[in-house]
Symmetry: C2
Subunit: 259 residues, 2 copies
């Protein structure tokens, strides 16, 4: 039987709130399994870009990454957030290794197709080297990934953190029984987005399609759930979405995706 | 017999010059030995601090690191420079791992004593875990260290890169025959600082003391040479100082320290 491994994803809402972040890291550090953390950005990158007078171009709510914006992302995600998270988890007794860009040759990305829209330095993951990552994990290290990835030529890219978590989870499913946990700003997937108590215990692909068609699930939740179902369809054992409690060893409320 | 390992240190003068940097990285990548790279800062941190209106306090030419200055150092050294160097070496066919702050639990620092001067978030290295680092090296990874280190409580510090390279070299000398190579802005240690052709082929501790007393060696060269001789006195086989050619497999001009 394979060992259990948890791939956790935390978003900007947690990173921007020091108290919440400490709670989440306490939970995460205490999970009695091998683990991987993937983190997103938060408001710091936007703030720094503003102070540095770097214009932010958006297309349908998605940021276009110019060379200057990539530099800011590198500095904030890899320099500030990743290094902070590694040090915080280290102080909780873990041996941690930040993974940014080409680190460890774990992830290979490529520039996203310029059609229909050129998103600039936005990369899509081509390959996660699960074997290499499993070797690192087996030495007792907890890898912490920022959303900065690289191609073979050494070009860095801004990458979607939810997709990254899902791709890592899939690549590791040959070696571990993988549980993918998304920590976001809701206690789970809501039947009614205005009612935080309407958390769905489970969400099947059929229900998901229905809720999408009704407009009850929309915007950022759609790519997040798509990556979740993709993981579930590709070897990942369990996919859970929830609030900060999603890493609480005594889990209460959250949504589990089911096929 | 132990395998040979090269610990290279590059400073700001190389990092700030893209052409020079590419040459140095070409040489470094082609060295036919296991290797570690340690890098310093360059002007980018100073420039960013200026744009962000963060005042720079100095004491006898040494920077006092405030919380805001540390954040800038983190973003520039760990986020920008380290991630760039890793990607550039990766594109040259190496498997590279950036090491910043608490990464890998390789280096433990502590805040520098506040007497006689409180340098703020400046850390001194307490311990390098040579065994752990040797394990990583034996898996074929080239570690690239920025001068950001951490203590056990997860506090990050700005650390002297020359000292870091020397401490790493010493810690690895139990496992490897270590050669420490400092790449700086002169072709070697000069008998006459105004004459670039006066490179000393070798420099003994006696000659060093004489040249210091005469005032021919001064300022930043003193701590650099002190860390070099310290390494040579503590198990490191060879210590070399030179310009960008110091990583050229066909080395010509440089200074070798001798006891």
């Amino acid at each position: 039987m394979k060992d259990k491994l948890i791939v956790g994803k935390i978003g900007g809402n947690v990173i921007d709130n020091p108290d919440l972040l400490n709670t989440v890291l306490d939970y995460f550090a205490n999970l009695p399994h091998q683990k991987v953390l993937v983190h997103g950005g938060g408001i710091l990158a936007t703030q720094l870009a503003e102070v540095l007078n770097i214009p932010q171009q958006m297309h349908e709510g998605r940021r276009i990454t110019s060379a200057k914006t990539l530099e800011v992302a590198q500095m904030v995600y890899a320099g500030k957030i990743n290094t902070d998270l590694v040090a915080k988890l280290h102080s909780r007794g873990l041996v941690v290794q930040g993974v940014n860009g080409a680190d460890g040759a774990y992830i290979q990305s490529e520039k996203r197709s310029v059609k229909p829209i050129d998103f600039g330095f936005v990369g899509d993951i081509v390959k996660v080297d699960g074997e290499r990552l499993a070797r690192t994990l087996s030495s007792g290290i907890v890898p912490v990934f920022s959303a900065i990835t690289a191609d073979l030529e050494g070009q860095l890219y801004n990458t979607n953190g939810d997709t990254q978590a899902s791709e890592i989870a899939m690549a590791l499913s040959d070696f571990y029984e993988v549980e993918l946990r998304y920590c976001f700003d809701k206690p789970g997937v809501l039947r009614d987005v205005l009612d935080p108590s309407s958390v769905l215990k489970t969400l099947s692909i059929t229900e998901y399609t229905e809720l999408k068609d009704k407009g009850a699930i929309y915007q950022g939740m759609i790519p997040k759930l798509d990556t979740g179902f993709r993981a579930l369809n590709n070897g990942v054992q369990t996919v859970i979405l929830g609030g900060t409690e999603v890493f609480n060893p005594i889990q209460t409320i959250h949504t589990e995706l089911v096929l």
